[in-house]
Every structure is written in C-alpha cells, then in structure tokens.
Amino acid sequence: MKLEVFEPRIVAFVCNWCTYIAADAAGVARARYASNVRLIRTMCSGRIDPQFIMSAFEKGADGVLMCGCHPGDCHYREGNYKALRRYILLKRLLPQLGINEDRLRLEWISASEPEKFRRVADDITEQIRQIGPLIENGGE
C-alpha cells in the first residue's frame, strides 16, 4: 500500500445548467484534468441533498465537490443559495464528526468556464491527496 500513490476518490455533484456544460466543454476541448473526479449531474445545485454528500463520504469518497451557478445566475432563481447555506452548515457539521472540513468544497462554475472547471478538478484532487484517504479510524 505504501508504494502506491494514493488516488483520491472525489464525487462532484454538478448543476445541469452550468458546471455540467463547462465540464462537457472541457472534454470537447480535450482539456486534461484529474480523472479522480467523478461527476454526478443534478438539475440544480439546490438539488444536492446533504444526504447525498453524507452518503458519498460513507461509501468511500475522500472528497466531495458541489458545483453550481454563480450567485444571481441560478436557473431556478435561488437553488444555489440553498446549496451555499447547506454547504456552510455542513462545513460546521463535518468537523464535529471528526471529518476534515476541507474534504467538502463548493465552487461556482458557469457554462462558459471550462478552464475553471479543469483547474478546480485538479486543485481539489491535489488538496485531497494532501489530506489523505478517509479511512476508518484514520485519526487514531
């Protein structure tokens, strides 16, 4: 195990109207980014139920990325604000459970920002690689 490089598993919940299109554009442009990030498309960042995030961590994700439209740009007017509030509260909850809060990240990435998507995907992968795997009793 020690010889292997730790490859983080990152689940990204991305909004259909912005980040998903950006990720698609990044792919069409053949931009290279970390393959550690697995996308799950939701219709809005406001659809990202905190249950999804907890479940991702429970089932083996080392990091979770929430992506939505920039403030003011939500297709459904206020879904991204709900995502922001959930994110803030989750960031407070995770350390209580003994989970590094940096494992959860929220980013606003519009449809016209494939480069930002690429950067964020690489960046969170490196960040989680630094933090290490989320394993049972890892802090013991």
Partner: protein, 327 residues
C-alpha cells in the same frame, strides 16, 4: 394461562423512560396484563436470564426491547430474545435509531474511558485509577464485566427487528395501539414504524399559523424567548424539527410550547435524519450572503446535537474519525 401470548420487556442502554412509558399505560396496562403473560421484565418482575434461556425458541410472542446497544451483555440479550421471540419490537428512540446514548459515537471507547477515568476535570489526578476491565482477579475469585463497545448501535444493527415504536419515550397512544395491533394480528408490513406516516406539521395544532413561505432571519433558542403558544414555532424563529420528523406523537412537545427535537425519527422516505434536518434548516434561512448566513447560523453551534440527536449511530461515517475529538 398457557394460552395467553407471552411478552418480554428488556432494556439496554436507556434512561428508564421507556419503562416508565409502559407503566404510563395506567389502567390500560391492566387490559394488557389480562391479555398477555409477561415472562420477562427485569425492571419490574423477578425473572432471570436462565428462565428465558429455558424457553423454547420462538415461544415468546413479542419482545419489546428499549435502549441502544452499548455493551456486549446487551448484544447477547438482544440475540437471546430474538431467538426466543416471534416478534422483536424496537421500543423507543434509542432502540430505533440509537438515540441520545448514540451521541457517544462522536468518541470511541478509548477516549471515553480516558475522559471518565483519567483526564476528566472531576477525576483526581495522581492516583492509580483503574479503568474497568472485562475480567479481573480478586482474592475472592474472578469478576467479570460486560465489554464496552467502541460504538453505540441501534437494535436493528444487532438483530433483525420486526417493528419500531419511535419516541423518547413512545407515547401511551402508540404503545397501546401497537399492543392492540399485535394481539389482533392486524399489523402493517414487517419493518414498519408503528406511528404516523406524515410529518409532524400535518398534525401540529399551530399549523394554521404557519406562513405560506416560511423564512427565518433570526434563529432563537428556547431560553431566549417567551414562546407565543398560538404561533408556529418556526415562524417565531425557534428551530422546530416538525417538518422533517415523523408524526404520531400528538404534538406533545408543541402542546407544551417546546419545539420538536425529532425523537420520532425520520419519515419513511428519508435515510439520514440529520442530513435532512440540516437541509431543511438551510432552506428556510432568509439570507444569501455568506456573512449573514454565518451570523444566523451562529445560533446553531452544535449541528450534530441538533440534527443527529436521536440518530447518530445510523451514520456509519462516525467510525471514520480523523480528527481527535473531545477531552
């Protein structure tokens, strides 16, 4: 006598409130005693474990087990009663979801023992304090204690549970309804929670005063306000978990002018009560700027304690501690 269905009651990691809830049946308990034969009830009757062991498998019609499972002894008893019973009913929040004792899952055995026997502020230092051992030799012989698990579990994480009676404690009404249903054989599909199927808000007496669109600019804690008994508590800024909690409790806390804390657990559609509660609160906060949101949420200093108060053992994530917590 022999024809009466046999019933057992047992308690695991609990406060005794669930036993009280059985006694609270008051006169109705006489009907129960009339209809059944109580064969095991450590808190009230002098039957021993050997008596249960001597019974034939499946000879107990129904076992009501309250409390969470924290010790090896509780796990053994749960297995024993499961083997001897046709139906096992998780009685109360702790048995159903892990309950308040389940909050201990924020720590593990080592840190709990360290705090309570070595480093806690009420422990006198410098002495040779002995941490309880499972087996200890004394001049009189060997003494044994049950083993203390790293984690608190809900009953269904240990044995198969047929039905759940939620609540901290379950109300007289749902207990007597459940007993009647069991005696008459008129039971819902196995695995059901024997309480309401809709959120508490549906039956809340203050529901009429709930605004069309519920938004909260300021969260108030119960000790900070004089509660208006006529207005929806959420509309008053009190964090009431009614919208995400199973109903069937007759709104007892609301009638007592206290917000719901979620003891009846999540609705059938919800897997993670805490995450759902967190989601709900986030949805009604009336602020879009990060700073303002943070300021409003300052009144929720302990999200785990608020949202996972009764259901932390259901979250397997607690076994993935990477930051050492507590004292």
């Amino acid at each position: 006598m022999a024809d009466k269905p046999k019933v057992a009651f047992y308690w695991c990691a609990s406060c005794g409130g669930c036993e009280e809830a059985v006694v609270d049946l008051a006169e109705e308990i006489l009907d129960v005693v009339e209809a059944v034969d109580i064969v095991f009830w450590p808190v009230a009757l002098d039957f021993k474990v050997e008596d249960v062991e001597a019974m034939e498998d499946g000879s107990i019609a129904v076992s009501f087990i309250n409390g969470a499972v924290r010790l090896s002894e509780q796990e053994e008893m749960a297995h024993l009663l499961r083997q001897k019973s046709q139906l096992v009913i998780a009685f109360g929040s702790c048995s159903h979801l892990g309950g308040v004792p389940g909050l201990a899952n924020l720590w593990d055995k080592a840190s709990i023992f360290d705090y309570y026997y070595v480093s806690g502020p009420t422990v006198e230092h410098g002495e040779n304090i002995e941490v309880p051992e499972v087996k200890i030799e004394v001049p009189e012989g060997t003494l044994e204690l049950p083993e203390f698990w790293d984690e608190v579990k809900s009953l269904d994480q240990v044995v198969k549970v047929d039905y759940y009676l939620p609540g901290c404690p379950p109300t007289v009404k749902i207990v007597s309804n459940a007993i009647k249903a069991i005696l008459s054989g008129d039971l819902p599909p196995p695995g059901s929670v024997l309480a309401g199927t809709r959120a508490l808000c549906y039956e809340c007496p203050l529901n009429d005063s709930k605004p069309e669109k519920l938004l909260v600019k300021e969260i108030k804690r119960v000790h900070e306000v004089e509660i208006d008994p006529e207005t929806c508590l959420l509309a008053q800024g009190l964090l009431c978990l009614g919208p995400v909690t199973r109903g069937g409790c007759e709104s007892l806390c609301i009638e007592g002018h206290m917000p719901c804390t979620g003891c009846f657990g999540p609705l059938d559609e919800v897997l993670d009560q805490g995450a759902k509660g967190l989601s709900f609160l986030s949805s009604i906060i009336d602020a879009d700027e990060e700073e303002e949101i943070l300021q409003i949420l300052d009144k929720v200093p302990d999200p785990v304690g608020v949202f996972y108060r009764y259901s932390l053992p259901r979250l397997s994530l607690t076994s993935k501690k990477e930051v050492k917590l507590g004292g």
